[in-house]
């Protein structure tokens, strides 16, 4: 077995896993604050990527303007979704809210198809194109820079959570909604904030994923792997999202490299089943499932 091949695959997996981690972060922010399992996470990524595509190619905005534009637009969409579809579901059983996000994902796919058609599109190239070589291992530049973006954004989010007032409010709401309300935190506003933040992060992840793999209305399938990541890592744990993302990224990459592409999703889901059987609340999740 070629050791450099193994290293190359592992590195590619880690880099891809960074994107999973980023998307999982978007998921966890929403889940922590509002207890909503957002099955539409893949579609929110997709909306971000398509908005960027529309702004940069359709309206030919420069890249440095189109990226923030797409992020802001996605954040607005996230806030809108929370206000229209999620807020009325407060207090309903979690399964109902979960199904609302299933419906949302379907609406988002339909809107994208209506606006841009069902064909695949390519995003404009905006990352450096020199290949990255470590020893004899080669990493695709897009994947590498995507990983760097994911890393930087994750760090920024962690710092915001730690020091920014809104981040503190978000953490307070996550740990005890009632107490947070009583201490003067506007919990409904935190709910909106979490969806806005989640959508913005998802948009960044979407732009990177889209620039690596191209755009199509079926991009949302990426969200399935993200769901596996958050379940493996634990629904409400940021550390879990990061570790789970990298883990699933590497596992997928190894399965793809040594077994073949069609084994990727299969391996991911086998890992999921194993984790569910061993630690049903995920590797780092809070153990709040009632067990019988």
């Amino acid at each position: 077995m070629d050791i450099w091949f193994l290293i190359e695959i592992t590195l590619a997996g880690l880099a891809g896993g960074g994107l999973y981690a980023l998307a999982a972060l978007a998921f966890v922010i929403v889940y922590k604050a509002t207890r909503v399992v957002n099955l539409a996470i893949g579609e929110m990524l997709m909306i971000g990527a398509y908005t960027f595509f529309g702004l940069s190619t359709g309206l030919s905005w420069p890249v440095w303007l189109a990226i923030p534009g797409a992020v802001v637009a996605s954040a607005l969409i996230g806030g809108l979704i929370e206000r229209i579809a999620i807020r009325p579901m407060l207090g309903e059983p979690p399964i109902s809210v979960f199904m609302v996000t299933v419906g949302l994902s379907s609406i988002l796919v339909g809107v994208v198809e209506l606006a841009w058609g069902a064909d695949t599109h390519r995003l404009i190239e905006f990352m450096p194109r020199d290949p990255i070589v470590l020893g004899e291992a080669f990493i695709a530049p897009k994947v590498f820079y995507g990983f760097l973006t994911a890393l930087a954004l994750t760090l920024a989010v962690l710092l915001l959570f730690r020091f920014w007032r809104g981040g503190v409010a978000l953490r307070a709401t996550a740990s005890d909604q009632g107490a947070a309300y009583a201490m003067g935190i506007a919990v409904p506003r935190v709910f909106s904030l979490s969806w806005v933040a989640g959508a913005a992060i998802a948009a960044v992840a979407g732009i990177v994923v889209g620039s690596i793999g191209g755009l199509s209305p079926t991009m949302g399938i990426f969200g399935l792997s993200v769901l596996v990541v958050v379940i493996v890592g634990g629904l409400d744990s940021i550390a879990g999202a990061l570790v789970g993302g990298l883990l699933i990224g590497v596992v997928e990459s190894l399965a793809g490299g040594y077994l073949g592409g069609e084994y990727k999703l299969l391996t991911t889901f086998v890992v999921l089943v194993v984790v569910l059987m061993v630690r049903p609340y995920g590797l780092f999740g809070t153990r709040d499932i009632e067990r019988l």
């Binding site: 979690p94 299933v102 379907s106 796919v109 339909g110 198809e113 209506l114 999921l272 019988l292």
Partner: protein, 345 residues
């Protein structure tokens, strides 16, 4: 106002169809279903069969999700197991169609029990995602096992009943609709037995159910088994109806479709699965009609698919937000209005 429904015995009180009016309407419905194939054109017969198959599967999912409270996104995968079993049996052994359907249901049932085992440890959303995992693994098996014919799939010879090949919509109707009706009757009766009531108790509060002496694991597995048996038989009917089975025939979207159908119809009611499956199957056809009326011409066709997806999503979200009890609740309201008419309450 409907009068004269005073019950004079416990048996009358517990009857499935408890009033003369209801029995009359059921009779009318049965007669209409018998007369339907003789008056309808092939397109409507095709739709009727499709609706009936979807009703059968949605009813199965309703047993699991609506009545027992275990959310599953694997219904399509279980249908696939049933469909493949029927296809293989019909192709290799040529056993009688009814037997094939039963075996298909049983194999799917075993699959369901296997998937249901984690339901001991996880529930709610974790279980939903575990069933997604199961359906991907099943999909992989379909595409890679030798006996399933790989990605090309299998073609299914027509079902034979008493030597008559059911190879047209008109003929298959006589297999699909009675089987579905039987399954519906079975489901309706299930919830008048202790098993069905145990399911409902588990849905309402599983810990209380256990305290009341209901063995949770056994009943959860039983619910999975029944639900996937329904899915398996529905999948078998599907195989006989479309006559070709491929791994792509039963995607995750199909599971979501069934979940949407019972939400729109009304979770935890027999009527809900019927109304929901009918409604969700007919909406796309209706949309095609509407788009056909508009003057967009040839361009209009490319909009049908996305609009259909959007409408699908809007229906799910809309029903959950505005009418969580679904079409069945609307139907009940209409019925109450006519019962009480001319009074308001």
């Amino acid at each position: 106002m409907r009068i004269g429904t005073a019950k004079q015995s416990y048996a009358a009180d517990q009857a499935l169809f408890d009033s003369a009016t209801q029995r009359t309407w059921v009779l009318v419905l049965v007669l209409a279903l018998i007369a339907f194939p003789f008056v309808a054109d092939p397109y409507w017969l095709y739709l009727a069969c499709l609706v009936a198959i979807n009703i059968a599967s949605a009813t199965g999912l309703n047993i699991l999700t609506g009545y027992t409270g275990l959310v599953s996104l694997g219904q399509a995968a279980f249908m696939g197991i049933g469909a493949y079993t029927v296809a293989v049996l019909e192709q290799r052994l040529g056993t009688p169609a009814i037997l094939n359907l039963l075996i298909g249901g049983t194999v799917a049932m075993l699959g369901g029990v296997l998937v249901g085992i984690p339901s001991l440890r996880v529930k709610g959303l974790y279980l939903a995602i575990a069933t997604i995992a199961a359906s991907f693994i099943v999909h992989f098996l379909f595409a890679n096992l030798g006996v399933t014919g790989g990605t090309a799939g299998l073609s299914v010879p027509p079902a034979k009943i008493f030597g008559v090949a059911l190879d047209t919509s008109f003929r298959i109707y006589w297999l699909v609709v009675p089987v579905t009706a039987l399954m519906l009757l079975g489901a309706a009766n299930l919830f008048r037995t202790r098993i069905g009531r145990a399911f409902i108790a588990i849905r309402d509060r599983d810990i209380s159910a256990e305290v009341l002496g209901i063995p949770l694991l056994r009943y959860k597995l039983l619910s999975f088994a029944l639900s996937s048996f329904y899915a398996g038989v529905a999948g078998g009917l599907w195989a006989y109806f479309f006559r070709v089975v491929t791994p792509e025939s039963f995607p995750l979207q199909m599971s979501i479709f069934f979940l949407a159908a019972i939400i729109v119809g009304g979770m935890g009611t027999i009527l809900g699965a019927i109304l929901g499956a009918t409604f969700m199957t007919m909406v796309p056809e209706f949309l095609k009609l509407v788009v056909g009326w508009t003057s967009l011409g040839a361009d209009s066709l490319q909009y049908v698919a996305p609009i259909r997806i959007i409408v699908f999503g809007v229906l799910i979200v809309g029903f959950l937000v505005f009418e969580p009890h679904g079409l069945a609740e609307m139907w009940r309201r209409v019925r109450r209005f006519f019962h009480l008419w001319p009074f308001k309450h």
